[in-house]
Assembly symmetry: C2
Homo-oligomer: 250 residues x 2
DNA sequence: CGTTCGATTGAGGAAGATCAATTAATGTGG
DNA sequence: CCACATTAATTGATCTTCCTCAATCGAACG
């Protein structure tokens, strides 16, 4: 096991403009796709499945608007929310390897999905190499994002997991130029808990504590709307959870 | 939340011959690569890093022999083993999106890695479309595998996590035609625990219980060698952990 | 306006973490 | 090859966190 901060990884990443550049990238991706590939638009509503586990693979999908959840079902009946998708994200990569989708992709809201026959997409990639780059980048990003999820679940205590979940969600909204000071959770406490490997009660308690500490606020109607006055406060809350001892006097 | 067994996923997958066909596939992949792409062979020893987080992306790697671990380091110093790699597995996909690798890839043993310049690989894919399929299948498989890990960590109690970890490891060895009745763990208890989101003590206790229940056995020298007389016993152990109540009399 | 579903909060218990001591394996220099 | 040092693994005792069970409250909906 190496020492925790063997070298500073942060300096290796494009620091400030990352958000805006990613925001651009999403727009560029959508533009590139609509230019070079024959696409079919499909409007979905909350609860609709764009594909289901076991279904024969044939299409990849790009989310133009709305929100999706990706749900895995094990052979013994365990159900797990493994991923969340926003505008610009791809869906269906899990189907390529086995020729069948491995998960359910369920809309959490009204939205529009662009449908691409996989073969047509590959053909377009042969004509426009930039398209292939976009495709590979999307797959690569999905891999790194999945690993971040694993890291969150494995290394953070319950309260911090919820805070980190909110932080990541806000980050992704920000990358898309969407509101980040007040967000709408499109999932129940049970779904959040399932995604984070904890019970719905623990999620509720964590959110209550975050609200008590003024890290988040609850909006007018319902507890699905969360105010995030300062994203940095979420990060510090996570760090505070990780801190070994409060070290009161010093 | 849906009912657990909404529909039978098992019938949707190719059931029996899956292992052997995957075994073939790995050989085919290696053959295809060595035929169509200029490759550089690199011998590594335990502890060697084939790439490190932050390093500029430029190459993809395929493991021809040996074992690798993929380690993620968060900006605040948390370290997480996020993936394990065996013969035929690809390394480096995480670097494509940002142009820099996001993790460390560390050899756990002596082995040989095939090194491909990404651009050269893409060029070869343009000539041999089968190669592109292989590449996409590998990325797809990595996504589904990562999700399986998340599922294991999120839905299983500690003992079952260890059993499931061994089961998945044996399954992957089997796909490669390697010994599965006696396996060598190339990781410490601490590393296993890190990978599974639990402490090294819990891993040790889980292994002891598995040995007590005759699900596994410890070989002659050292506790790194584990005997797996029956893989099915590992699966049943996982199921037993999930069972709500033993239901003694009935 | 009652019914239903989701969220909150509390009390108690259990799984797993932490702390600590011992044993086993590995490596090192004499 | 052996005594010693070092690292890994095991096991036990205690404590913390989080889960489970239960009651209550609020919001949405027919």
């Amino acid at each position: 096991m190496q020492s925790p901060a063997a070298f500073d990884i942060s300096s290796a990443r494009p620091p400030a403009a990352a958000h805006r550049s990613s925001g651009r990238k999403i727009e560029d991706t959508l533009a590139l796709l609509s230019e070079h590939v024959e696409l079919q638009r499909r409007v979905v509503h909350a609860g609709d499945a764009i594909y289901q586990a076991g279904e024969r693979f044939g299409h990849l999908y790009v989310l133009n608007s709305g929100f999706f959840k990706i749900v895995n079902l094990s052979s013994d009946g365990r159900e797990q929310l493994v991923s969340l998708k926003l505008r610009g994200d791809w869906l269906g990569f899990d189907g390529i390897a086995e020729g069948r989708y491995a998960c359910d992709a369920i809309a959490m809201d009204t939205g529009e999905v662009w449908v691409f026959p996989y073969e047509a997409l590959l053909a377009a990639c042969a004509r426009a190499p930039a398209l292939l780059s976009v495709l590979h980048e999307a797959m690569s990003r999905e891999i790194t994002r999945d690993r971040e999820s694993l890291m969150t679940v494995c290394t953070l205590p319950a309260d911090a997991r919820v805070a980190e979940f909110l932080r990541q969600w806000v980050e992704r909204l920000d990358q898309r130029g969407m509101r980040t000071d007040e967000i709408t959770l499109r999932m129940t406490r049970a779904e959040i808990g399932n995604y984070l490997g904890m019970t719905l009660e623990s999620v509720s308690r964590a959110l209550s504590r975050l609200a008590r500490d003024k890290v988040i606020g609850f909006a007018h109607k319902g507890r699905r709307d969360v105010q995030i006055p300062d994203v940095g406060a979420l990060s510090s809350f996570v760090q505070r959870c990780l801190a070994p001892a409060p070290a009161l006097l010093q």
